[in-house]
């Protein structure tokens, strides 16, 4: 089950990352890469030499990408099981998934601090500030579907509730929380405007600066898999799940493409924020919106 989940998420994620690059290219009046380009990238990184920088803490440096990818595999498998068969789910899987989605950022930080590089340390410090800023509104936004489904922290119950009463994003509080959550996953994915942690033009790749070969390939795969898993997570808790049956699945894929398009358009129409601007943005307007959404949800709107 886990291996199937891994393969499926990896393929969807790599195709999604191709779509992201292709849409970016079309927005900039370019042609863009071929469909298999993300697969070529990963294949290439796996045949390249993996260098371990002098003075780095080797076990943590090499364990970090593996911890990151394992957490994404487990969380995406939980999501897929909820789409396929609801019998094998457990109570509280929402909380587990929210925690597991935080581990990739932590693994990036771990690897960067172990690398003994000034740029990596700078990137890791920024990543840490970014986590502190976006986790609060993200969890507040997730609280809204939890309240609306009658204080349930189980995906299957939420999906059943949405199947009966319509998706949460249709209500006022749900819509507000959905917008907040989209902004937060933009930061979770490390996309512009919140890519301060790996700003290539500024701190030469930031957290990934010392990674090469297989370790870099695993990190890249992890990020591409997050690009598959995070929108699916949002669809499940806000937009009524991927659906079943031929028509339901069609609309599910349509929802996924809509969210992906939204993320890519935000990415391409905004400049990078400084870290202080990003923190101010998340703790200011975004958190206020999230708190308002929670209050509205608690009052039944």
């Amino acid at each position: 089950m886990v291996i199937l989940g891994f393969i499926f998420t990896a393929i969807v994620g790599l195709i999604a990352s191709w779509a992201e690059r292709k849409i970016t290219a079309r927005i900039q009046y370019r042609v863009g890469p071929v469909l298999l380009q993300p697969f070529y990238d990963i294949a290439k990184l796996f045949v390249k030499q993996t260098l371990i920088p002098e003075g780095s803490f080797k076990p943590v440096f090499l364990a970090a990408p593996i911890i990151g990818i394992l957490s994404v595999i487990v969380s995406s498998t939980i999501l897929w099981i909820n789409c396929v068969n609801m019998k094998y789910t457990f109570w509280g899987d929402l909380i587990v998934v929210v925690y597991l989605f935080m581990v990739p950022s932590l693994s990036l930080m771990m690897g960067a601090f172990a690398a003994k590089n000034i740029y990596a340390a700078l990137g890791a410090a920024r990543e840490m500030k970014l986590i502190l800023s976006y986790e609060l509104p993200f969890i507040l936004a997730i609280l809204v579907p939890v309240i609306k489904s009658g204080y349930s922290v189980r995906f299957s119950e939420m999906l059943q509730y949405q199947a009966a009463y319509g998706p949460f994003a249709m209500s006022l509080s749900g819509g507000l929380a959905f917008i907040v959550a989209v902004v937060c996953i933009q930061a979770k994915l490390g996309f512009v405007p919140f890519d301060v942690a790996e700003a290539e033009t500024e701190i030469v790749g930031g957290v990934l600066v010392e990674y090469s070969g297989k370790a870099l390939g695993i990190f890249r795969l992890m990020k591409n898999m997050l690009l598959a898993a995070l929108p699916v997570f949002l669809i499940m808790i806000f937009l009524g799940g991927l659906g079943d049956g031929f028509l339901g699945l069609f609309f599910g894929i349509l929802k996924y493409i809509m969210i992906l398009l939204l993320i890519v358009v935000i990415k391409n129409t905004n400049p990078r924020l400084r870290i202080d601007q990003a923190v101010r943005f998340f703790w200011g307007p975004v958190t206020v919106c999230a708190i308002a959404a929670v209050i509205l949800a608690a009052r039944g709107l």
Binding site: V31, D41, K44, V47, K48, G205, L208, E210, Y211
Partner: protein, 145 residues
């Protein structure tokens, strides 16, 4: 096999060893919408650890020579080196300078030479394609002589 996989997505690292900036601007031109080298999977890497192809411009002066050598040693293998512009090929107009003792290929092994002052973006793309052509035989170009 290994080299073929690498050349399916060559990420380039741009090292300037004391150039006048003309070649560097022409390299940046390759990445703009008019030439769009991302069609071939070419991306500009920020860190030498991510690089598959090192593009070297400039005349390799005494300060830069040691650093270019260090860059080559820090890149994960297999890595290719492309010398861009007259300066990095033969030191160009600085051939008699006190500050440019040796050309680039005496410091690190060079796979492809792209002449010109500065070379056109078309010439740079042709040079990269030549690298791909030559490595299809499985050998590095300098072994092919």
């Amino acid at each position: 096999m290994k080299i073929k996989t690498v050349l399916k997505s060559p990420w380039i690292f741009h090292a300037s060893s004391g150039s006048c900036n003309n070649c560097d601007i022409e390299i940046v031109d390759c990445l703009t919408p008019r030439f769009d080298v991302e069609r071939f999977g070419i991306l500009l890497a920020g860190s030498i650890r991510h690089a598959d192809v090192i593009l070297v411009t400039g005349s390799c002066n005494r300060q830069a020579a040691a650093r270019v050598k260090k860059l080559y040693e820090n890149a994960p293998k297999p890595v290719f080196v492309v010398a861009i512009g007259e300066c990095s090929l033969s030191r160009g107009m600085f051939i008699n300078s006190y500050n440019c003792p040796v050309p680039l290929d005496k410091i690190i092994p060079v796979d492809v030479y792209v002449p010109g002052c500065p070379p056109k973006p078309e010439a740079i793309i042709a040079g990269i394609l030549k690298l791909m052509e030559k490595t299809k035989t499985g050998k590095k170009p300098q072994e092919n002589k």
